[in-house]
C-alpha cells in the first residue's frame, strides 16, 4: 500500500470505528430492554429510509443538524468549543419568528425570507460574540460561559414567552406567508406530507460557504492557525482575541439559522421546546465530522436518521437511547483520536512516529 492509501484507510477507520462502538452500545442498551437489536435496527431503517415520507423526515432532522454541526465546527476550527449552540438557536428562532410575524402581510418572499434569516443569524451571533468577548477580554472559558448563557436564554424565553405567546399556547403568532419556506412536497410528489423544506438548501449553502471560507480565505487560515498554534499566530501578528471573537460570532450566526427549518419551513411559528436538544447533538455531528463541512453533512445524515427513527422504535426501546448514543459517538471519537494520529504517523513511516519507535 502506498502511504496515501494508508492515510485514507486510517481516516476511514477513524470514521468507521466510532460507528462500530456506537452500534455495540446501541445493541447493549436494546438487549438490556429485552429486545432484539437486529429487529429494532430493521424497524428503524424501514421507518426512515424505507419510504419517501420517512426519508423526508430524515432530511428534515438532518437540516437542523447540519446547521448546529456547522456551528460547532466553526468554533472547533479556531480551537473553541461552542456548547452554547442550543441557546443561540433558540434565540435565533425566536427573533426569526417575531420578525416574520411583524412584517406587513403582503411582503414578498424575496424581502421577507432574507430578513428573517438575518434576524436569526444576528441574534445567534450576538450571543456568540458575547462569549467571544468574555474569552478575549477577561479570559473566561467559552465552555462555561456558553453553557451559562444557555440557561439564561432558556429562563429569559420563559419570561418573554409569557408576554408574547398567543393566548393559552406555547407559541408565537405565525409568520406572514411571504416569510414561509416551501415544503419540498410541493415540488416533488414523493415527499408529500413530510416536513422537509427549503431550509435544507439554506443549510447546504451554509456548508458550501463555510467549506470555501475554511479552505480559501485568509479568515479560514487565521482560524486554523489560532486553533492549532495560538502562540505562533500571535507571533505572526494575528490577534488571537479578535479571531476568537469573530469565530464565536460566526458560530453563533450559523446556530441562529437553525430555526429556519421549523419556524419558516414547518410550523411557521416559534414554539417552546421545539429544538429538542438539537444544539447538543450538533456537538456529536461536528466531532464525528471532524469539523469539516463535508464530514458534517455525512454525520448530520447519520444523526438525522437516528433522530427521525427514534419515534419509530419508541414502542420497543425508549427514544432517549439516541441521547445516550450521541454522547457515545463523541466519547468514541475523542478516545481514539490521539491514538489514531500516532497510528497514522507510524503508517506514514516518518516524523514523530519514527522518533517514538527509536525511543
Amino acid at each position: 500500500m502506498s502511504p496515501s492509501t494508508r492515510l485514507w484507510a486510517a481516516r476511514l477507520l477513524g470514521f468507521v470505528w466510532p460507528l462500530l462502538v456506537t452500534l455495540l452500545a446501541a445493541s447493549l442498551l436494546i438487549v438490556a430492554c429485552g429486545r432484539d437489536p437486529i429487529a429494532v435496527g430493521r424497524t428503524l431503517i424501514d421507518g426512515t429510509w424505507g419510504s419517501t415520507y420517512g426519508l423526508g423526515q430524515v432530511l428534515f432532522k438532518t437540516t437542523s443538524l447540519v446547521f448546529t454541526g456547522l456551528a460547532v465546527a466553526v468554533g472547533l476550527r479556531a480551537g473553541l468549543f461552542n456548547i452554547g449552540v442550543e441557546g443561540q438557536l433558540i434565540a435565533g428562532a425566536f427573533l426569526m419568528a417575531l420578525v416574520g410575524a411583524s412584517l406587513p402581510r403582503g411582503t414578498s418572499s424575496i424581502v421577507a425570507v432574507p430578513l428573517c434569516l438575518t434576524a436569526g443569524a444576528l441574534s445567534g451571533a450576538a450571543l456568540g460574540a458575547l462569549a467571544g468577548a468574555l474569552k478575549a477580554g477577561r479570559g473566561a472559558h467559552e465552555v462555561i460561559t456558553t453553557i451559562l448563557l444557555n440557561f439564561i436564554v432558556r429562563a429569559a424565553m420563559v419570561g418573554i414567552g409569557q408576554r408574547l405567546f398567543l393566548h393559552e399556547t406555547i407559541h408565537t403568532a405565525p409568520v406572514v406567508p411571504g416569510a414561509e419556506l416551501p415544503r419540498l412536497g410541493r415540488f416533488v410528489d414523493a415527499f408529500h406530507g413530510s416536513a422537509v423544506n427549503a431550509s435544507l438548501f439554506v443549510a447546504l449553502a451554509a456548508a458550501g460557504a463555510l467549506a470555501w471560507l475554511f479552505a480559501r480565505t485568509p479568515l479560514g487560515a487565521r482560524f486554523t492557525l489560532v486553533g492549532k498554534a495560538p502562540l505562533a499566530a500571535e507571533t505572526a501578528g494575528i490577534s488571537v482575541g479578535r479571531t476568537t471573537l469573530v469565530a464565536l460570532a460566526l458560530s453563533g450566526a450559523v446556530a441562529g439559522l437553525t430555526g429556519s427549518g421549523f419556524v419558516l419551513g414547518y410550523k411557521h411559528y416559534y414554539e417552546d421546546g421545539f429544538s429538542g436538544g438539537v444544539g447538543f447533538m450538533g456537538i456529536a455531528v461536528a466531532v464525528l465530522g471532524r469539523a469539516h463541512p463535508l464530514g458534517v453533512l455525512v454525520a448530520a445524515l447519520a444523526f438525522g436518521t437516528l433522530s427521525a427513527g427514534q419515534l419509530v422504535v419508541n414502542a420497543a426501546v425508549p427514544k432517549e437511547i439516541v441521547d445516550v448514543l450521541t454522547a457515545v459517538v463523541i466519547l468514541a471519537v475523542i478516545g481514539t483520536g490521539p491514538r489514531l494520529r500516532q497510528f497514522v504517523s507510524r503508517m506514514k513511516g516518518g516524523g514523530a512516529g519514527q522518533g517514538a519507535r527509536i525511543q
Binding site: G139, I144, T145, L148, L149, I152, E320
Partner: protein, 298 residues
C-alpha cells in the same frame, strides 16, 4: 432566620461538594467539566439504590460510587488515551443526561421523574435541627476543612499540587503523575456524586436534568476561588446564599417573576468569571488541560 440558614445549607450541599471535588481534579491538572454529569449520575444512582434497598445510607453510598465510576471513565479517556479534557467533560455530561433519561424511562416508565423514594422522604423535615442532623449536611461541614487540610498539609495534597504545576518535575522525584491524576479525578467524582445524592435525597426523588447547571456553577466557583478548596467552597456558599436570598424574597416580600429567579445563579456565575478576569493573584495550575507526556504516563 433559622429557616433561612437551613435553606441555605440545603441549597449549598451540591454546590460545595462539587466545588471541593472539582478543585482536586483541577489542581492535579485535569479540567473538571464533568461535574455536571457526576452530580446527575450521583443523584440517579442514589435514587435507584435507596429505592431498591429502602435505606437512605445505601443511596448516599451509591451516589458517591456513581460519581466515582463516571470519573473513572473520564480518567480512562483523558489519562492513558490522552483525549481532549474539555471535550471529554462535555461528552460525559451529555452521556449522563442521556443515560439517566433512558434509564428513567426504562426503569420507572417516566420521562420527567422517578416515583417518591420513601427512604429519603423520612429525613425529618427541612427545619434547622433536622437539616443540621442530616448526614450529608454534617459531611459537608466536615469535608470543607478536611479538603483544605488534605490539599495543604498532606503528602497526597502536595503531590496533587506538584503534578498540577509540573508533571515532569514530579515524575523526576519518583511521583507517578498518572496515579496522582487518577486519584484526584476519581476523588472529584466521588465527592460530586455525594452532592448529587443530596439533590435526590432533598426532593426524595430523581427529576430529569435535576443538576440544572450546578456542576458548571461549581466550576465557576473553583475558578473564582483560585483553585483552592476552601475558597472554592466559600464561593460555592456565596452562590448558594444568593439563590437562597432570591427564593426567600420571591416567596415573601416582593413578587419577583419565576424566570428572573431561575436566571440568577447562572448570571451570578457569569459575573464572577468576568470579575475575576486575568488580574487575580491566583493562577490556574500550570499543567491544567495538557495531557501527560510519554514518560509521565508510566
Amino acid at each position: 432566620m433559622s429557616d433561612f440558614v437551613a435553606k441555605l445549607l440545603r441549597i449549598a450541599v451540591p454546590y460545595v461538594f462539587a466545588a471541593l471535588g472539582g478543585s482536586f481534579s483541577e489542581r492535579a491538572g485535569v479540567i473538571t467539566l464533568g461535574l455536571e454529569g457526576y452530580l446527575l449520575l450521583g443523584a440517579f444512582g442514589a435514587t435507584v439504590a435507596a429505592d431498591l434497598s429502602g435505606a437512605a445510607a445505601a443511596g448516599y453510598a451509591a451516589g458517591a460510587v456513581a460519581g466515582g465510576v463516571a470519573a473513572l471513565l473520564v480518567a480512562a479517556l483523558v489519562l492513558p488515551l490522552c483525549a481532549d479534557q474539555v471535550t471529554t467533560g462535555v461528552a460525559l455530561n451529555l452521556f449522563a443526561d442521556g443515560l439517566t433519561r433512558f434509564a428513567l424511562k426504562a426503569l420507572y416508565d417516566s420521562s420527567s421523574n422517578s416515583p417518591r423514594v420513601e427512604a429519603f422522604a423520612s429525613d425529618g423535615g427541612a427545619g434547622l435541627g433536622a437539616t443540621l442532623a442530616h448526614p450529608l449536611v454534617i459531611a459537608m461541614l466536615v469535608a470543607v476543612p478536611l479538603a483544605h487540610l488534605a490539599m495543604q498539609r498532606t503528602t497526597f495534597g502536595l503531590r496533587v499540587r506538584a503534578v498540577g504545576e509540573h508533571p515532569e518535575a514530579a515524575a523526576s522525584l519518583g511521583v507517578s503523575p498518572l496515579r496522582v491524576r487518577l486519584a484526584a479525578v476519581v476523588l472529584g467524582g466521588l465527592l460530586a456524586g455525594i452532592g448529587g445524592a443530596f439533590l435526590a435525597a432533598d426532593q426524595a426523588k430523581f427529576v430529569d436534568g435535576m443538576s440544572r447547571g450546578r456542576g458548571y456553577i461549581a466550576l465557576a466557583a473553583i475558578i473564582a476561588g483560585g483553585w483552592r478548596p476552601l475558597a472554592a467552597a466559600g464561593a460555592a456558599m456565596l452562590f448558594a446564599l444568593a439563590v437562597t436570598v432570591q427564593y426567600t424574597l420571591s416567596s415573601s416580600y416582593v413578587q419577583i417573576p419565576d424566570w428572573a429567579t431561575q436566571m440568577l445563579p447562572y448570571g451570578l456565575a457569569l459575573f464572577a468569571l468576568v470579575l475575576r478576569g486575568r488580574s487575580s493573584a491566583a493562577k490556574p495550575p500550570s499543567s491544567l488541560g495538557s495531557p501527560l507526556g510519554k514518560r509521565e504516563l508510566a
